[in-house]
Amino acid sequence: MEEKLNYIEAAEQPIAMHPKKFALWLFIVTVVMIFAALTSAYIVRQSEGNWLEFDLPEIFWYSSGIIVLSSLTFHWAYISAKKDNLQNLRIGMVITSVLGVVFLVSQWYGWIALVERDVYFVGNPAGSFLYVFTGLHGLHLVSGVIFLIIVLISSFRYKVHSKQLATLEMCVTFWHFLGGLWLYLFMFLLLNH
């Protein structure tokens, strides 16, 4: 009797998510914590006075536009992949990668504009923080572009399509996150400089 009952009693399957996607979200949490620490350090330091006042370079407005545009093109690529429109997927991803690089270049011009305003990495922490924010974000964006290119290559090898979206989805998540992170940093700087 007991033996029979043993196997008709099925146990519940716990809720589960794609482990790699989940790990990516956790990685995003760590990046969030780094920038949360840095921006709160900025506020703490700013409240102590002796703070250099300067205008943010206008080019940051353009770079914000570029990063938003790249998120849109990437999303278009993603929707195309879902519909198995591989041509549009590749076009969308190439445009996104180019926009990513353009964003990095515009950030570089942002630094040049800062130097023109006599705001240097070494000097008053007000300027140093700005370089750290943009630099560290830029570094993450470089990793995002590399990730994009890896997915782009695998899309040329027909490894990305409506039945195999996990990597692409992770890339999209990461890219949107990086865009959102920049918008947060930019707004933070607009409000607190």
Partner: protein
């Protein structure tokens, strides 16, 4: 979800055929969580010996300030001068490295790294971690970090010497002390690797616990060990990035000339160009990691203790839910109390009183946990295995060290006690020794699962009693020295008439410390001897309930040869009234034990059967539709 299942399936298929690892893939670049856990353990033991040895060196200095240490010249070389005295700069380096090694390399990597890796897949019923490759990377980043830190010990200018907290400006300026040169640079590089290692590990632990549990293993059926490892990983994930941010700004200050932490400093009468920085900013960032780090160290030990105490009391853990809620409470509170390390940093006293209030709240979940340990022990059929003794020792330290935490958490009292040996006594008992005892309990308890052999119990008892008594002999007198005003991190404190009265007590502490250190070699012998020559273990030597004891004696890559067992009950069904034996494993369905089911469980059996019959109907309907 579909992918998670297919991953499981592929692991099953993988396990069916024998595959042979060569030496390198099996013992060195292994992706098997069990081997990685053992790697962490052995590396942790190595670092514990180094950290312990460093403490013996500075205890010699503190206990016998006039001593001729020339006999240490073969090891320490130039750090002992011609008169046989220890170099004061090197003393600071010793204290710093002892702290860094013990907190990060032994009690974070050696404890969490070992047992999270080893136990999470085994106790939740998974083939391996979510990403074996990331797991391997986690160990090798830790290894690289260790190599760099080890090299820094042999630098001519010495390793980092600014205390394990490496406060700037001391740590930021090379001119400040010799240890702030190359030693500090290597410290920062090593810690960067360590942070990467912890984060890789932590991401893996969380992902695995959430996504790869076996059938039936709901969060309310998880062993408390897994809960503690899970919450530890969450704390690490949120706090280590902040340490990274703090260290990054410190690197910029040191190597690029920025002024995040530096302002208005004169060295040798000359003003430095740095202006506008804030040294207290570093303290805020550091302690935002530093305080949660205490719980990263402690929580796994508490989890291990819960498991060991319940098993060896032959009783269900008292207040399973209360334990989980307390751990959750500790996790959340650990992030809002950091400024209690900074009461004397010029912190606004009003802010101080808020942090004091939050700090004292931690006493509540901690007391709940202690109460639950004691009530689990209460009238249990206690079996005093070495692991059990170490767990009871942990509870003892947690109480005696925790009480002084209430003193130190009060900002008014902290002004008197700050940076004295009272603080040293407090955290060595509550965090250091308690976590170390948790680590030892874990090793003694899971050694049969790790190596398929038993450790010698008699040697275990000797090791326990020498260590337990030794720890109290070392740290209890420190309270008195601290209350009397003896400051931390001082090379000597004998220059004044009033301060030489501590020498006797310091001598006593030093002798006790050396004996305790020597006693650890009993463990070391037992550990390595039993690995090869120990008595062969039975499959479930402690008659325990959790899943790891359903695996073969030497589980292969994939842990279970066939299907992963399903889980039907919580892990603490010990001495259930009516049951044939005094333990019922998690894999035994409720319907198989009608004699011991409680009324509400009998209801569950009915409910389960209904669900199953419905599911079967759906299944049959689907099949007929498909055909």
């Amino acid at each position: 979800m579909a992918t998670a299942q297919s991953a499981l399936h592929s692991a099953t298929a993988h396990d069916d055929h024998e595959h042979h690892d060569n030496f390198i893939t099996k013992y060195i670049f292994s992706t098997d969580h069990k081997m990685i856990g053992k790697q962490f353990l052995v590396t942790g033991i190595f670092w514990a010996l180094i950290g312990g040895f460093l403490s013996v060196l500075f205890r010699l200095q503190l206990g016998f300030p006039e001593m001729d240490m020339s006999f240490l010249k073969p090891i320490l070389g130039g750090w002992i001068d011609d008169t046989g005295a220890l170099n004061p700069e090197f003393y600071l380096a010793l204290v710093t490295m002892h702290g860094t090694i013990m907190v990060f390399f032994v009690l974070t990597a050696g404890l969490s790294g070992t047992f999270s890796n080893f136990l999470i897949p085994l106790q939740i019923g998974a083939r391996d971690m979510a990403s074996g490759f990331m797991n391997m990377l986690s160990y090798w980043f830790f290894f690289i970090s260790g190599v760099i830190m080890f090299i820094s010990l042999f630098l001519e200018t010495g390793p980092a010497a600014g205390g394990w907290v490496v406060y700037p400006p001391l740590s930021a300026l090379e001119q400040a002390i010799p240890g702030s040169g190359m030693g500090m640079t290597l410290w920062l590089i090593a810690m960067t690797f360590f942070i990467a290692s912890s984060l890789l590990g932590g991401i893996n632990y969380i992902t695995t616990v959430i996504n790869l549990r076996t059938k039936g293993m709901s969060f309310s059926k998880l062993p408390l060990t897994i809960w503690s490892f899970f919450l530890t990983a969450v704390i690490g994930l949120l706090s280590f990035p902040v340490l990274f941010a703090a260290a990054l700004l410190l690197v910029f200050d040191r190597s690029f000339g920025t002024s995040f932490y530096l302002s208005d400093i004169y060295i040798g009468g000359e003003a430095l160009s740095n202006t506008g920085g804030s040294a207290v900013l570093y303290q805020h960032l550091f302690w935002f990691l530093g305080h949660p780090e205490v719980y990263i160290v402690l929580l796994p030990a508490l989890g291990i203790t819960s498991e060991v105490i319940a098993t060896n009391s032959r009783k269900p853990i008292f207040g399973y839910k209360a334990m989980i809620i307390s751990m959750l409470g500790i996790t959340i509170l650990s992030f809002v109390v950091w400024a209690h390390h900074m009461f004397v940093s010029g912190l606004n006293p009003f802010l101080g009183s808020i942090f004091m209030f939050l700090t004292l709240i931690i006493a509540i979940p901690s007391a709940v946990k202690v109460f639950n340990y004691l009530t689990t022990l209460w009238r249990g059929n206690l079996i005093f295995t070495p692991a059990m003794l170490f767990s009871i020792g942990l509870v003892s330290f947690f109480i005696s060290g925790g009480l002084t935490g209430i003193f130190l958490g009060n900002s008014a009292i902290d002004i008197q006690l700050h940076d004295t040996y009272f603080v040293v006594a407090h955290f060595h008992l509550v965090m250091g020794s308690a976590s170390f005892f948790g680590l030892m309990a874990g090793v003694y308890h899971w050694f049969p699962k790790m190596f398929g052999r038993m450790m010698d119990a008699k040697l275990g008892y000797i090791h326990f009693w020498l260590t337990f008594i030794g720890v109290y002999l070392v740290f209890f007198p420190m309270h008195y020295i601290g209350i009397a005003g003896f400051p931390r991190r001082y090379y000597t404190w004998t220059n004044f008439e009033f301060s030489s009265m501590y020498t006797d007590l310091n001598m006593f502490i030093s002798i006790a410390a050396i004996l305790t250190f020597v006693a650890q070699f009993i463990f070391l012998f037992n550990f390595f001897y039993s690995m090869y020559r120990g008595r062969k273990a039975s499959l479930n030597p402690w008659r325990s309930n959790t899943l790891e004891w359903t695996t073969p004696l030497h589980p292969g890559h994939g842990n279970w040869p066939g299907e992963i067992p399903s889980v039907y009950r919580w892990p603490y069904d010990y001495s259930k009234p009516g049951a044939k034996e005094d333990f019922i494993m998690q894999t035994v369905p409720l319907s198989a034990t009608p004699e011991s089911n409680l009324p509400h469980e009998q209801e569950l059996v009915k409910l389960e059967k209904e669900i199953i019959s419905e599911e079967e109907e759906v299944l049959i309907a689907n099949e007929s539709r498909e055909s």
